[in-house]
């Protein structure tokens, strides 16, 4: 009956964006998205960073793309995972989606698409804050490509975790033990080459590391292509995992 596996994805996406628009309209959202990255920029970029040079550039030019990568991760993950938690346990609107004749692929496409949109808007806000702080980037296609893949894969993680957890506390645990540490260890604040090999090696198993590499490349260099390929592999695997979890969802 449903020849098109994506049928219904658009309605899910539109609803999520409708709900997001209501949040975006409140100044508190914009401020709270920008406040933490802005503090990092002031403390590390302007304060501490004056004495630091990384890879031949000033520290702010190193830091801002990293903060954008971190915002992309946090926002795409959080909106999807906590949104699903609220929809499952509080509003119970998730049950409506599960009872509708839409394929798991469509459910993932709609939710991940909305997570990406929200992650990218937050990232843009951080970029704007960076420009205000004096960041002057060289335009590079590697940056938007990395952000697209990164938001897709973290939104997919958000789906898996949002559907596997049993409430908000568990969600917070994942954020504190998985997502936040990635933000500190995957090259947001300093290049991984500063770390000893036994530590930097395993960190390449984490997706944010590759996002941070690709984000800072001046264009589609070999290094950028490798990092983008790794991100693509992560995204494909995690999207497949999300489809699998949705298909098996039962209460």
């Amino acid at each position: 009956m449903n020849a098109n596996p994506l049928a219904g994805a658009g309605s899910i996406f539109r609803r999520e964006m409708l709900l997001f628009r209501l949040k975006l309209a409140r100044p508190s959202f914009v401020l709270s998205t920008m406040i933490t990255p802005l503090m990092y920029m002031v403390v590390f970029g302007l304060g501490l960073g004056r004495q630091v040079r990384v890879d031949g550039g000033d520290y702010l030019s190193f830091l801002v793309p990293g903060l954008m990568g971190m915002a992309a991760m946090h926002n795409s993950f959080n909106w999807v995972a906590s949104g699903l938690n609220i929809a499952r346990f509080y509003h119970r609107t998730w049950q409506l989606v599960m009872l509708a004749p839409v394929s798991p692929v469509a459910v993932v496409a709609g939710n991940v698409g909305a997570g990406m949109a929200r992650g990218l808007i937050a990232t843009l806000l951080v970029g704007v804050a960076g420009l205000a702080a004096g960041w002057r980037p060289e335009p590079s296609v590697a940056l938007p490509l990395a952000l697209l893949l990164e938001t897709a894969l973290f939104a997919a993680i958000g789906m898996v975790i949002g559907l596997k957890t049993r409430g908000m506390e568990e969600h917070t645990t994942y954020t504190n033990f998985v997502i936040t540490p990635m933000g500190f260890f995957c090259g947001t604040f300093f290049p991984l080459s500063n770390l000893p090999g036994w530590l930097s090696g395993p960190l390449h198993l984490l997706p944010l590391t590759h996002a941070n590499i690709a984000l800072r490349q001046p264009g589609l260099t070999a290094e950028a292509l490798w990092a983008l390929a790794a991100l693509t592999a992560f995204a494909v695997a995690l999207l497949a995992a999300a489809v699998w979890v949705v298909a098996r969802y039962r209460e």
């Binding site: 009956m1 049928a7 219904g8 658009g10 309605s11 609803r15 989606v97 009872l99 509708a100 209460e251």
Partner: protein, 239 residues
């Protein structure tokens, strides 16, 4: 239309539904009457395909709720015990999302017609947050009707509403019943089951302890009213 055979569902060591057998014919309005924790919601959730039985099987329209969940979903309209609405969105937005999710045609027209039928025209574009309990309940029931289901599951459609509003909702349910839809309705209220249902099952501790028309139950278990039967069967108390 509905065949339930030895349906069982456990939560840990507790048995929420314990070997329920039940057949409900097409066009029937069936009432599931029982106290808090009796297993009504669990049974409805299994019928809806959302919850899997641990034992036995359930079928709607000849389709198994586990192996043919897709076919079951296409027959069903489900009204859960909680008003699962997007509270920041308006009735119109809530209905529109549902209609699109089910890929109905002429969405705007259908939504407008349903808002009219529910008597919510004045509140059509007000956030659901600002609707009364009765209005929200209407909206949830109306939403389930958007897809013109063959079977409607109503889990406590009127709990917590004042008597006048309950009667209002009863009229709506009668209207649906008279349209030929098969209805399974759960309730704590004896008079609700009597008013709406041709047949009633009394459920307690996950088991159906009595089954028949309200009149039959009164005759069989001693009356004078259905309420007395419920009390006599030990299903009247609160847990």
């Amino acid at each position: 239309m509905i065949r339930i055979e030895a349906a069982t569902r456990r939560y840990g060591a507790a048995v929420a539904v314990d070997g329920v057998d039940l057949h409900i014919a097409e066009g029937e309005a069936f009432g599931l009457l029982g106290p808090n924790g009796a297993g009504k919601t669990t049974l409805v959730r299994m019928l809806s395909t959302l919850a899997r039985p641990d034992g036995g099987r359930l079928a709607v329209g000849g389709h198994d709720t586990v192996t043919q969940a897709g076919a079951v979903k296409r027959l069903l309209g489900v009204v859960f015990q909680e008003n699962n609405l997007d509270r920041d969105l308006s009735p119109r937005q809530n209905l529109t999302f549902h209609a699109r999710l089910h890929r109905l045609d002429h969405v705007e027209k259908r939504v407008a017609a349903m808002i009219g039928r529910l008597g919510l025209a004045a509140k059509a574009d007000t956030p659901v947050d600002r609707l009364s309990g009765g209005q929200r309940r209407r909206l949830v029931i109306g939403r389930a009707l958007m897809t013109e289901p063959k079977v409607l599951l109503l889990d406590e459609p009127t709990t917590g509403l004042d008597p006048a509003i309950r009667r209002d909702l009863w009229d709506l349910v009668r209207d649906i019943r008279d349209g030929g839809c098969t209805i399974v309705l759960t309730t704590h209220y004896v008079e609700e089951a009597e008013a709406l249902c041709g047949r009633v099952g009394i459920i307690n501790h996950g088991r159906i302890v009595a089954l028949g028309s309200p009149e039959e139950l009164v005759a069989r278990h001693g009356g004078p009213r259905l309420e007395d039967v419920v009390v006599a069967l030990g299903a009247g108390g609160r847990e």
